[in-house]
């Protein structure tokens, strides 16, 4: 199993890297708006009303490129792989190197299932 993980490692690392990028850039902004600015009344809560959020999620460029859905899918999928990869590294650091194969497969399995569910949900919007 470790040999298989090693083979797909470049791909996982790529998603992990993009997951960090998205997690730090977009999710920080999200937490800032939802966690601070709206409760403090600095941003009108209706800015995140269902209609507006739905319009943003289904927005498309030139009527063909579904930008909203692409961003939403990336937001759902990439941090999952980032989390799985980080937890796997943490597990190895805490002395789990010999169980790394099975733990890695489990974590990436969860990320894969979550990705499929997330993409299906976004496509079905």
């Amino acid at each position: 199993m470790r040999a298989f993980l090693l083979k797909i490692e470049p791909l996982i690392w790529l998603m992990f890297g993009q997951g960090i990028l998205i997690g730090t850039m977009l999710l920080t902004g999200w937490i800032l708006v939802v966690g601070l600015l709206i409760p403090l009344g600095m941003v009108d809560a209706s800015a995140l009303s269902y209609d507006r959020a739905y319009a943003l999620a289904t927005a498309s460029l030139f009527g063909v490129i579904p930008v909203g859905k692409l961003v939403l899918a990336a937001l759902l999928v990439l941090p999952l792989w980032k989390g799985a990869h980080h937890v796997r590294s943490l597990h190895v650091d805490f002395g789990g190197a010999e169980r790394d194969g099975i733990v890695g497969m489990l974590l990436y399995g969860v990320a894969l299932v979550g990705s499929i569910v997330g993409i299906l949900a976004v496509v079905g919007l």
């Binding site: 470790r2 470049p10 791909l11 790529l14 890297g17 590294s89 943490l90 190895v92 650091d93």
Partner: protein, 256 residues
Amino acid sequence: MADKTIVITRFDPDKDQAPRKQEYKVPCEPDWKVLDAINFIKDELDGSVAHRWSCRMAVCGSCGMMVNGEPKLTCKTSINDYGDRVDIEPLANFPIVRDLVVDLDGFMHKFQSVKPWIIRAKEKAADPIAARAALHPVKGTYSQSADQLATFKQFSMCINCMLCYAACPVVANEPEFLGPAAIALGHRYNMDSRDEGQGERNEIFRGEGTVFSCSYANECSEVCPKNVDPAAAVNQAKFGAVIDWAKNLVLPRGGA
């Protein structure tokens, strides 16, 4: 002048089953480094203590030891930064040969495995004018701009002191892990504008126990006495290996 208790790890493979501790009272001068205290013990108190050192100015990389549990270059660390009791042990994550001396064989092997030399498909032909002036065949030279040098200069400043290996949690778990300094060295050649061996090294970097075993602890860069920042090198090497992997996927024969 302050008396300090220096605790040295002693190990004689002929007599000892396991490393033991021995205490020495050392009158430390205000300007002393940790290495001065160890040299005082060796010269004045107990000639049987074994330790490595050479230049005393942080360029030879011989005197790395654990000082109060942290990997330090002992010639660069003031003894008076510590309290009355200073614990000195051989570098962690390495087999002990004797007292404070560790076995370097595994490390040297890792160093060679990243092909730390300039690889070229073909040597450049000699510049005919230079060849005539030298009156004998000379190899061509490879000029490099300041910008090209700057991309890897930092990674070439490593003095092989191995502090990063003693600090790395991945080396502690997997002794076969290629490790920070060796990856930084390989990456240094990958970044060199004169080098053409990126493909070979990236293939090594995608193997087991190399760049992707790194778990981003950043401890190597914390302890590096020459500010090489090996953690940056490892993560840049990951990116290089990934891009190379993607290129091979799209163009399996290098686009040929």
